[in-house]
C-alpha cells in the first residue's frame, strides 16, 4: 500500500511525539500516587495543578474549575446525570439538540426513563440551532440546556454565545460538549456564559482515556465517581498522571498553534471542498460553509453507499468515515444527517474527511483524484444511478 493518508482526525488524532515524551517519565520515574505524603509523590500533585492551570487559561476559567475525567463521554455523562440529580427539585426538564453526540443523546434518553423530560431541538439544513425555538422550549422547570459547541460529523459551529446568553437570562445551567471544538476554535467560558464544558485529550493530539469537565464555581453538581477525595472530592480515583500531563501538554501545544494551524486548515479545507463539488457531479457539502470546524469536510454522493466508498478509499491508503448505516451496524444512517433533512438514501452515501495539522495539499489532491474514480466506479454498479440516467434520457 502507498503512503497512509489519515483523514479521520475527528475520530482521533496521532499523539504528538512531544506529548508522549512529556508523559513517559510519569510511568517509570515519577510513578508515585499524588495523594501520598512522602516527598517522592509530592511533585505529582504539583504537576497536575500545572496542567489544570494550563487548561483553565485556554478557556478563560479558574484552575479549580477544571475536573479531569476519563474523556469526553464521561464528562458528558457527568454533566447531564449529576445536574439532573442535583437540580431535580427545581425541575425535571432538559433541553438539548437532535444532533448531539450519543454520549449526550443516550444519557438524555436514560434520564427520560428516570422521569425527566427532554426537548430535542431541531437544526436547520446547515445544522444550526434556531434560537427562537430554543427560547420557546424554555419552561419554568427547565434545569439544563446542553448544546454541542461544534458537531463531530458535519462540523457546524453553534451560536454558543447567544445560547449562553439565553440560558443566563433564564437562570438555566448551560453545558456544552466541546470535544470537537476545544483548541480548534477560541473558547471563553465567561464570554459565552458556559457553566459546564466537556473536552477530550485524544482529539487534540493528546492521549486517549483522558479529558476534563469544566464546572463553573457555584454549580452544585456532585460526584459522579465515589471513593476518594481526588478532584476536589468530585471525581474519585487515583489521578491518571501521565494522561493528565499528556492532556495538558497537548492542550498547550494546540492552543499555541491554533491561529496559524486553523488558518492553514481552513484554506486546505475550502480548496478540497471546492475541488470535490466542482469535479464530482451529484455531490453536496453537508454542514455550514463558513460556521464550520477548520478541519471538517462532509459530503454526500448521490446513488452510492458510504461503506463501499470507505473500503475502496482504504484500499488506496485513505482513512475516512461515513454516516452510512452499514458502518454503525444499524439500518438507520447518521442521526445528524437525518436531522439536517437529508433523505435516507443520500445520508447513506456520506463521507466525512477531517484534516490534521500534517495534512498537505498533495494529500488532498490525491484524495480528490481517487475519490472521483471511486464514485464513478460505484455509480456504474448502482441500480439507482441506472434508473436516474434512464429518467434523464426520457
Amino acid at each position: 500500500m502507498e503512503k497512509l493518508i489519515y483523514l479521520d482526525n475527528a475520530a482521533t488524532t496521532k499523539t504528538a511525539p512531544e506529548v508522549v515524551e512529556a508523559m513517559l517519565p510519569y510511568f517509570t520515574e515519577y510513578y508515585g500516587n499524588p495523594s501520598s505524603v512522602y516527598g517522592f509523590a509530592a511533585g505529582n500533585k504539583e504537576v497536575i495543578t500545572r496542567q489544570r492551570e494550563t487548561i483553565a487559561e485556554i478557556i478563560g476559567a479558574e484552575a479549580n474549575e477544571i475536573y479531569f475525567t476519563a474523556g469526553g463521554s464521561e464528562s458528558d455523562n457527568w454533566a447531564l446525570k449529576a445536574t439532573a440529580e442535583c437540580y431535580e427539585n427545581k425541575g425535571r426538564h432538559i433541553i438539548t439538540t437532535k444532533i448531539e453526540h450519543h454520549a449526550i443523546l443516550h444519557t438524555a434518553e436514560y434520564l427520560e426513563k428516570k422521569g425527566f423530560e427532554v426537548t430535542y431541538l431541531d437544526v436547520d439544513e446547515k445544522g444550526l440551532v434556531d434560537l427562537e425555538q430554543l427560547r420557546a422550549a424554555i419552561r419554568p422547570d427547565t434545569i439544563l440546556i446542553s448544546v454541542m459547541f461544534a458537531n463531530n460529523e458535519i462540523g457546524t459551529i453553534q451560536p454558543i454565545k447567544e445560547i449562553g446568553e439565553i440560558a443566563q437570562e433564564h437562570g438555566i445551567l448551560f453545558h456544552t460538549d466541546a470535544v470537537q471544538a476545544f483548541c480548534q476554535v477560541p473558547i471563553n467560558v465567561d464570554e459565552c456564559h458556559i457553566d459546564m464544558l466537556s473536552a477530550s485529550g485524544h482529539k487534540i493530539n493528546g492521549p486517549k482515556g483522558i479529558g476534563f469537565l469544566y464546572i463553573r464555581k457555584g454549580v452544585k453538581i456532585r460526584s459522579f465517581v465515589h471513593g476518594g477525595a481526588q478532584e476536589r472530592k468530585r471525581r474519585a480515583g487515583t489521578e491518571n498522571v501521565p494522561g493528565i500531563v499528556g492532556l495538558g501538554t497537548a492542550a498547550k501545544r494546540a492552543a499555541e498553534s491554533m491561529e496559524e494551524r486553523t488558518k492553514k486548515e481552513v484554506e486546505l479545507r475550502d480548496y478540497f471542498i471546492n475541488r470535490i463539488l466542482t469535479e464530482i457531479p451529484y455531490s453536496r457539502l453537508n454542514g455550514h460553509e463558513s460556521k464550520r470546524l477548520p478541519n471538517n469536510t462532509n459530503f454526500s454522493f448521490q446513488f452510492i453507499e458510504g461503506e463501499s466508498l470507505l473500503i475502496m478509499l482504504d484500499m488506496k491508503g485513505i482513512c475516512g468515515s461515513s454516516g452510512s448505516a452499514c458502518t454503525s451496524g444499524s439500518l438507520d444512517p447518521s442521526h445528524v444527517l437525518l436531522a439536517i433533512g437529508l433523505p435516507h438514501e443520500i445520508a447513506h452515501g456520506s463521507l466525512r474527511l477531517t484534516l490534521s495539522e500534517e495534512t498537505t495539499k498533495e494529500d488532498l489532491d490525491y484524495t480528490a483524484d481517487v475519490l472521483k474514480e471511486i464514485v464513478e466506479h460505484l455509480r456504474k454498479m448502482s441500480p439507482l444511478y441506472e434508473d436516474f440516467q434512464k429518467k434523464q434520457k426520457k
Partner: protein, 146 residues
C-alpha cells in the same frame, strides 16, 4: 471485518452490468436501508441461465453477495438456481459478519425476484417459487441497546 473472498468479490465483482432484453429482472431492497440489488437473467428455451448481470447499491457485503450469487446461478437451470440459498452464498464467501447476513438474504431474494419476473413474462409456474418480498427489511426490527 470481511473475509478474503468477500474482499475479492467486492474489489473485482463478477457480472456487473445490465442485460438488454433480459428474460427476467428482479430488484429488491430499499434505498432507505442502504441497499438495493437488481439482477438480470438471460434464460434459454431449456430453462438454463445463460447469462446473468447485477447492479447493487450498498455496502461491501451487498456487492460481494450479489457478485457471488450471480456466479452460483450462472449456467444453472432455473430449478437449480432456485436452490441457491443465502446460506450457500455466505458459505461460498467464507462467511459474513453477523450484521451483514441480511445482505445474503437480499441476494437470494433478488434471484427469486428475477425468476418470478421470468415466470410471469412467460406465463409459467416455477415449482417452489413464491412471490418474493420486495423489501427484506420488513421483518427486521431495530434492536435496542443499553
Amino acid at each position: 471485518m470481511y473475509t478474503e473472498k468477500v474482499m475479492d468479490h467486492f474489489q473485482n465483482p463478477r457480472n456487473v452490468g445490465e442485460l438488454e432484453n433480459p428474460s427476467g429482472v428482479g430488484t429488491v431492497g430499499n434505498a432507505k436501508c442502504g441497499d438495493i440489488m437488481r439482477i438480470y437473467l438471460d434464460i434459454d428455451e431449456d430453462q438454463i441461465i445463460r447469462d446473468v448481470k447485477f447492479k447493487t447499491f450498498g455496502c461491501g457485503a451487498a456487492v460481494a453477495t450479489s457478485s457471488m450469487a450471480t456466479e452460483l446461478v450462472k449456467g444453472k437451470s432455473i430449478y437449480e438456481a432456485l436452490k441457491v440459498t443465502n446460506k450457500a452464498v455466505m458459505e461460498a464467501l467464507d462467511g459474513l459478519p453477523p450484521v451483514k447476513v441480511h445482505c445474503s438474504l437480499l441476494a437470494e431474494e433478488a434471484i427469486h425476484a428475477a425468476l418470478w419476473d421470468y415466470a410471469e413474462k412467460n406465463g409459467i409456474k416455477i415449482e417452489g417459487l413464491t412471490k418474493p418480498k420486495s423489501d427484506i427489511h420488513e421483518d427486521e426490527e431495530d434492536e435496542e441497546e443499553y
